[in-house]
Structure formats: structure tokens, C-alpha cells
């Protein structure tokens, strides 16, 4: 239960971090808050040759509005996000479901997005909000739409030499809903969850990665009441678990009902 040996780097700027990733990318891991990587190191599920700690990269800190969007730096801790009143209420609500408060004291948005656990809150929220994920490498900056970012379990569109810089969220307060079911209370991994933001609906915990439900979204936009949509949601969810399908479909109804009450 001790991390294996690695070479450690503590870059002081994004330029320096990007240079390190250009040199070591395929053999390197980025250390953000460490709340998923440290257990993986301890259990020797990850054995990177190089570890690049982003803690001192100032460009990755801070939450601010720019061009009508909210920009959350990759190294912003979940605890800072849940306490910041400029952050959309959906995000603050979802973030409170992550781990426990001690984990949220360290865990970061960039870490959660790039770890892409299929049961994690952030990837699903980013998908439902049509967030944009900004990356940097020596080849330049890149904006990746959330729908193109998550590829599968613990697999993203991030290239080996790229650093996740920030996530851009739309401004404005759309009606929203968020719900998840866990085995043992708040803080546990979700068996299934659902997110609704405006007309967008996504589920997570059920399949390889979070999924939007365009069929359900079309029915909602056509004015169908939420409580009749469980069947449509169940038939649209891509999963091999019938139990998770039923739970997620019920949660879709719940978040749509919540969102309707907030519009």
C-alpha cells in the first residue's frame, strides 16, 4: 500500500507543465488533487515513470466569468466550487455528491473530468451543460466539447501530451435537476444518476460513460409531462444492467420533475 517509485516534477507555470508532458507524456501521469490517483498508486494499479504535480501552476486556479461563460480552472478544488455563489446551482448541487468533504477538500474538477469514472458526477454535468474542456500542449490550445471528451471508462480525448486547463460552462440559470442512487448514502459511488439542465438530459453510472438521452429530450420539448417518460428513458439508456436501467429511468423522471418546478 505504498506508491511505487517515480520521478517527480513540480512545474511553476503552464508552459513548464506542457514542456514536461511533451517530453514524458506517454510515461507520465498528472497529479491534480490525487484523490483517485493516490489510491491507484498505493494499489499499484498505476506505475507512472514520471509524476507531474500541477499544484503550483497558477494558470489552472480560479473561477471567473469571461465572454458570457464561467471558467473554472482545472486545479480548482470541489470544495471551492460548492462554496462559490457564481457557480451555477446545478454544479454546486452535483459537486456536493462527490466523495466526502475531506475528499472534496483536495479533489479538483480537472482531475474528475480526466479520470472519467463512468459513475462520476462531473463528466455527466459537463455533458448535460454542453461544457467545453480546454486543453494545452506544445502543439497549442484545443477546445473539446464535453460530448467528444468522454470516450469510455477512464478514457478521454486528452492526448498523452495534453494538460487540461479549464472547463467552460454556459452562463445563465436554466431549470435543472440532479439525483443519484448510492448503496450507502451521500458520498458513495453512484449506482445510477441523472442530470437535467434546461432541455438536456443525461444519465451516468449505467454504462461505459455518461449518456445524453436525445429521445427523452425531444419528448420533453414537445411538452410531454415528466411522469410519463420513464418508459422512453428506459428504452433509450445503453446499459447491460436491467437494474441500473430501471433506477436511471426513475431518476430521469425525478430530475425532470425537479427541473419543471424550477423553471
Amino acid at each position: 500500500m505504498k506508491p511505487p517509485p517515480f520521478e517527480y516534477y513540480r512545474p511553476g507555470s503552464l508552459d513548464e507543465a506542457v514542456q514536461l508532458m511533451a517530453r514524458y507524456g506517454p510515461d507520465a501521469k498528472i497529479l491534480a488533487g490525487g484523490q483517485s490517483l493516490l489510491p491507484m498508486l498505493a494499489m499499484r494499479q498505476a506505475r507512472p515513470k514520471h509524476l507531474v504535480d500541477l499544484q503550483r501552476v497558477g494558470e489552472l486556479a480560479g473561477i471567473r466569468s469571461a465572454d458570457g461563460r464561467l471558467r473554472i480552472g482545472a486545479m480548482v478544488r470541489q470544495r471551492e466550487i460548492e462554496r462559490d455563489s457564481s457557480v451555477p446551482p446545478l454544479v454546486r448541487c452535483a459537486v456536493r455528491h462527490i466523495g466526502n468533504f475531506e475528499v472534496r477538500n483536495r479533489g479538483t474538477v480537472g482531475g474528475s473530468l480526466s479520470y472519467l469514472d463512468p459513475a462520476a458526477e462531473w463528466p455527466a454535468v459537463a455533458l448535460a451543460m454542453e461544457a467545453v474542456i480546454v486543453t494545452a500542449s506544445q502543439r497549442g490550445r484545443r477546445e473539446i466539447a464535453a460530448r467528444d471528451f468522454g470516450l469510455g471508462p477512464h478514457t478521454t480525448a486528452l492526448a498523452a501530451d495534453e494538460v487540461l486547463v479549464e472547463v467552460l460552462l454556459p452562463a445563465g440559470n436554466a431549470g435543472f435537476g440532479f439525483a443519484e442512487v448510492t448503496r450507502r448514502g451521500v458520498g458513495d459511488f453512484a449506482v445510477a444518476g441523472a442530470v437535467c439542465h434546461g432541455a438536456a438530459v443525461a444519465v451516468f453510472g449505467v454504462g461505459q460513460r455518461p449518456q445524453r438521452l436525445p429521445g427523452v429530450e425531444a419528448l420533453v420539448s414537445a411538452g410531454q409531462p415528466a411522469d410519463g417518460l420513464a418508459e422512453a428513458a428506459a428504452s433509450e439508456i445503453d446499459t447491460t444492467s436491467e437494474y441500473r436501467r430501471r433506477v436511471a429511468a426513475a431518476l430521469v423522471v425525478r430530475v425532470l420533475t425537479e427541473a419543471a418546478g424550477r423553471r
Partner: protein
Amino acid sequence: MTSEAELTVTVNGARWSGTVPARLTLCDFLRSMLRLTGTHAGCEQGVCGACTVLLNGAAVRSCLMLAVQAEGADVTTVEGMGRPGQLTRLQDAFLRHRAFQCGFCTSGFLAAAEEILRSGERYTRDELRALLLGHVCRCTGYEPIVEAVYQCQG
């Protein structure tokens, strides 16, 4: 060599500066280099909460941090909280409510509860139970722990 790194950290008010192996967790740094063995290494994968300490006033799992990540930080362990005859209010409440038996989980619970109490919020017992969900206790059944923290509020 980058498998070692410079570290300057303040632990229980005392500044420490030196070189540490980069792969050393904060928990092992506290226990084996500083001999502060009141921080307990339980699961060493972030599940049990026994190794929880305060980092700049925020409760964190010291097994889920490298020591080098504590660069420049202010760490408080149970050794920095109170001493025999001069217990903190929270420690005294743990004693009065029989909130520990073997004591393995206690320093972690104390660190978490310190942050909870410093927030100034008044939580219900159920809310405290949910907040303390990241800590495992195999002796008490949790009720005395929740009661001790509850009675220290406000």
C-alpha cells in the same frame, strides 16, 4: 534526482525543512520521519479516514497526499490539538461520551470534527452522521461520536 524533493512544511506550529522521497505519503512522513504516530495508517487508500489531519484548517486524508504536496502548508495532527490534562473541548466531549474504545479511528474523527465545528454551522445529528461518513469505527457504533460532536456545537 527527482525521486526526492525539497519540502518545507509547518507541523503543529513547528517548521520542518528537508528532503523527502517524492513517493512518501504525508501520512508516512508524519509517522516515520516526524515520529508523530498519533496519525494512524489504516487502509492507506482513502477509505477508512483514520489518517485524517488538518491541512491549512481543512480536513484531508494524509494517505491520499504525497508529503511534497504539503509544501508551504500548515499541518495539524492530533499531537497539536491538546495534551493530557489540557484536552480540547472536543477531546473532552469524546471522553465524556465514550466516543472511542480502541482509539484507532479517533485522531481522524477529531480532525474531521475540528473542521466541522470551526464552520460555525449547527448541524443536526443526521447531518453530522452524513458528514462523518468518510470515517470507519469498529468499536462504538458511531452514536457516541456523533453525540460528542453534536454537543460541542454552538
